[in-house]
């Protein structure tokens, strides 16, 4: 084990701890939705993304079409394309196409943020270390949540049900505080989402398409009204 690999592992520990608690809630939610513990763990091992996995659950239980599933994942996870584009310019010569194909699997919001904040270029030893601990934490948390979640008293389970949404709010509110554009985009998306849930007729549209319609419209309006000057990550 070389030094940069160990450094990557170390930098991944705080991310893994955060993932552990969030994926615990995901594991619990997945088992409540009717998946087995093993199926929940498989989703976490292969997807490694919070919002995409949470959105996939109701689509699976509702028997949605694979097209709806694919489009929903595309919309929710589109942000990773931007992160991958941005990170691509920070990789050193040890990151050729095969290594890039391996690391791409783990380019989550948090891993991207840590990798981007490193001084200079980053190489494969560091990045492999950095992806390993969070992936392990994400998988372990799902296993624990799926297996132990149903053993917890109802009181604790319902309190944990809000964990994922707390995390979502922690992602959107700090930039919303700073930028009017983000406030407008979030406002439009939330208002539309409320309409799709409560207005008769509109509330028959399934959850995947609701997310797609709300997000694409809100982001397009934002892009028209407030085009960003520099490249955001």
């Amino acid at each position: 084990m070389n030094k940069s690999f160990r450094q990557g592992i170390r930098h991944g520990i705080p991310i893994a701890l955060g993932y552990l608690s969030v994926s615990f809630a995901f594991g619990m939610k997945a088992v409540e939705a009717g998946l087995t513990v093993f199926q929940a763990v498989l989703i976490s091992m292969t997807n490694l993304t919070s919002a995409g996995q949470v959105a996939a659950l109701p689509l699976m239980t509702a028997g949605a079409s694979l097209w709806e599933m694919a489009l929903t994942q595309l919309t929710i996870n589109l942000r990773y394309a931007l992160m991958s584009l941005s990170l691509g310019r920070k990789l050193d010569e040890t990151m050729q196409t095969p290594q890039r194909m391996i690391f791409a699997f783990a380019n989550t919001d948090e891993i991207f943020a840590v990798a981007s904040s490193q001084p200079g270029k980053v190489g494969k030893s560091y990045l492999y270390g950095l992806m390993l601990t969070p992936w392990f934490g994400w998988t372990l948390g799902t296993l624990l949540g799926g297996a132990a979640g149903t053993l917890l008293p109802e009181f604790v389970r319902s309190a944990l049900g809000i964990a994922l949404y707390g995390m979502f709010l922690a992602i959107i509110l700090p930039p919303a505080r700073k930028q009017q554009s983000v406030r407008v985009v979030v406002g439009i998306a939330v208002a539309m989402s409320l309409c799709f849930h409560y207005i008769p007729g509109l509330n028959t549209i399934s959850s995947g398409f609701v997310i797609i319609i709300c997000a694409v419209t809100a982001a397009a309006v934002g892009a028209l009204l407030f085009p960003v000057k520099e490249e955001h990550a």
Binding site: Q39, V54, Q73, R100, A104, L173, A189, A219, A223
Partner: protein
């Protein structure tokens, strides 16, 4: 869930998510020129998370009153820029306390 139902979903979610991350790192490496597309991509995460959070969060605890307590705490802490973990844990604690308060009121 039956495996023959589950596996196609697993393949699609994992496959789409991976390709979105992999293609811009390997094949498509040039910068996006269009300010509209760049802005659109920059705003998408906030729009997605906003639409996923409301109104779903109000039903996340099984009782809208406790959910509102949790949301209120999460909003205040997130607005102040606290970490993901802090906000998530505090929201759970707020819901737990609200449930306890509800229980005390009901048994009185």
């Amino acid at each position: 869930m039956k495996w023959e139902v589950f596996l196609p979903y697993l393949a699609v979610t994992a496959g789409v998510t991976y390709l979105i991350r992999m293609i811009p790192l390997t094949v498509f490496r040039r910068e996006i020129k269009s300010p509209f597309i760049r802005s659109f991509l920059a705003y998408i995460p906030y729009a997605v998370l906003g639409a996923m959070t409301f109104p779903d969060v109000l039903y996340a605890t099984g009782d809208m009153r406790t959910a509102i307590c949790g949301v209120a705490v999460a909003v205040v802490l997130a607005w102040r820029g606290r970490s993901l973990l802090t906000v998530a844990v505090a929201a759970c604690c707020a819901v737990a306390l609200a449930q306890l308060a509800m229980l005390l009121i009901a048994t009185r």
